[in-house]
Symmetry: C2
Subunit: 282 residues, 2 copies
């Protein structure tokens, strides 16, 4: 593996935000991601790794610009790793035609259907290839990984963790797509990437994985009451029911008046970072 050099780098809260491109095996082409290295890491210390999975239409820089996480990540000594939301410029016909599927809408699964299957392997990318890269090139404690995300990325964080029990020490989500099999966004994406047989969808749906016996560390989930996607797409009540049935610890907070965007996410960012740090730096 060649040396990994950022194509852009900015000092931030005593650490560094770096932006990277590399050729991904899983995704069959260029992938981009961003890393925030806290000051502790730059002082030669190995630090825990917290992955953030972004929502529809976002890129690898959205979270670092809008999330307001670096201040506290610096204080807590957490590395933030933020992948892009899909491969781009894959040559797949109409990859950019619909904001809900294709470019910036990878849904953190491994597609099985043509023409997506060879490139849209975000699950394997996020859980295997990207961590290997991080472990190799950054001062990361790879025995201390946490994962969180927003909306489509909240779904992604829940599913990555539920499919790899014991792997992630901490998990949380902002306004996640809680039960993609039962909402239009998920049905469209799963139908496109996984095909019409809904039985194959269960392996990528957090509520179904919980029903199937998967368990993760205590979950923290925040949801705004004025989120325009709440009733139709997000359905946190289905996550709550699945967790209750499964005995999965869940703190689901309903945040009065907040919507779906980063003004909401940034407001509760500190609570999430402390939730992760409690598990990752203990």
């Amino acid at each position: 593996m060649d040396a990994l050099k950022p194509h852009a780098e900015n000092r931030c809260f005593g650490g560094t935000v770096g932006f990277y491109k590399h050729t991904s095996q899983e995704c069959g082409g260029e992938m981009r991601f961003a890393v925030y290295l806290p000051p502790q890491a730059q002082a030669g210390q190995k630090v825990p790794v917290l992955y953030y999975l972004s929502g529809l239409t976002c890129t690898e820089d959205t979270f670092l610009i809008k999330g307001g996480a670096q201040r506290l990540a610096a204080e807590l000594g957490l590395m933030l790793v933020v992948p892009d939301t899909s491969p781009r410029q894959t040559g797949i016909l109409k990859e950019d035609a619909d904001w809900e599927v294709g470019t910036a809408a990878g849904f953190y699964l491994d597609a099985t259907q043509a023409p997506w299957a060879s490139r849209f392997r975000m699950y394997s990318y996020v859980t295997r290839e990207l961590p290997e890269l991080v472990g190799k090139h950054f001062p990361a404690r790879m025995d201390r990984e946490g994962i969180f995300g927003h909306s489509m990325g909240g779904h992604g964080a829940l599913v990555c963790a539920l499919r790899q029990p014991g792997r992630y020490r901490s998990v949380s989500a902002f306004a996640p797509i809680s039960a993609p099999m039962r909402c239009p966004w998920g049905q469209k994406a799963f139908g496109t990437y996984l095909g019409p047989d809904a039985e194959t969808w269960r392996a990528w749906d957090a509520t179904e994985l919980l029903r199937g016996g998967a368990r993760v560390p205590p979950l923290l989930v925040d949801q705004g009451t004025q989120d325009k996607f709440l009733a139709e797409q997000l359905k946190p009540e289905l996550l709550r029911a699945a967790c209750e049935q499964a005995g999965q610890p869940l703190t689901l907070r309903s945040q009065d008046g907040y919507d779906h965007g980063y003004y909401f996410v940034s407001t509760f960012m500190a609570d999430h970072l402390r939730h992760h740090a409690a598990a990752l730096t203990a």
Copy 2:
């Protein structure tokens, strides 16, 4: 004056970010601005007003998305008021042709030259019309105003304050254009808006205003050492010299490794907000 209603509103850190459009007398057409109302204001309390002037290419939402100020503004009880960086769609030929002059490059002065003079009156807009609007429509303590800004907006904050001694209780800047008469950005903008007679430029240059006897409350200025505009455009050493000569208190901090962008601005935002709160909420 008609009721002022936001065209977009987002709950944020217990307060509200609101985006407004109105017909400006000074600028002869539509102007846009954003306001962060902290929780104290929503609880019926009048709060101090802190104006933030943005840099070249920014809009009224840049700072609220990237600056990371709302968290502490909520805690300190400060209202943030952020105007756009110029009038837009004025019909002036080539207003969008150059990022250094025209749209998003109003330089917070009152233009005297055709075709700009009728629309590009950002100084009067920021110091008179906008505050009147704020005082009328928001729970603002208009006897407690502070002002700060970034780059072109850092110049703007210094100049607004120096031209109105006694008006602003607190002033600070991130990487300001310290001596616009002596850098390419300023020379181009002043030549365009004020005409070729450089004598008329002095009234809009912080170092010249200091030389002319203007004084403001103790200044806080942060400047990154890796700022690519530092040597050619920003010239903080000229501000330092002018302050020293004038006996104007200045804390000028050189921040090692930081560049010109919002990763830099957000890192030192808390220090600036506390600087303002100390004067505004005392």
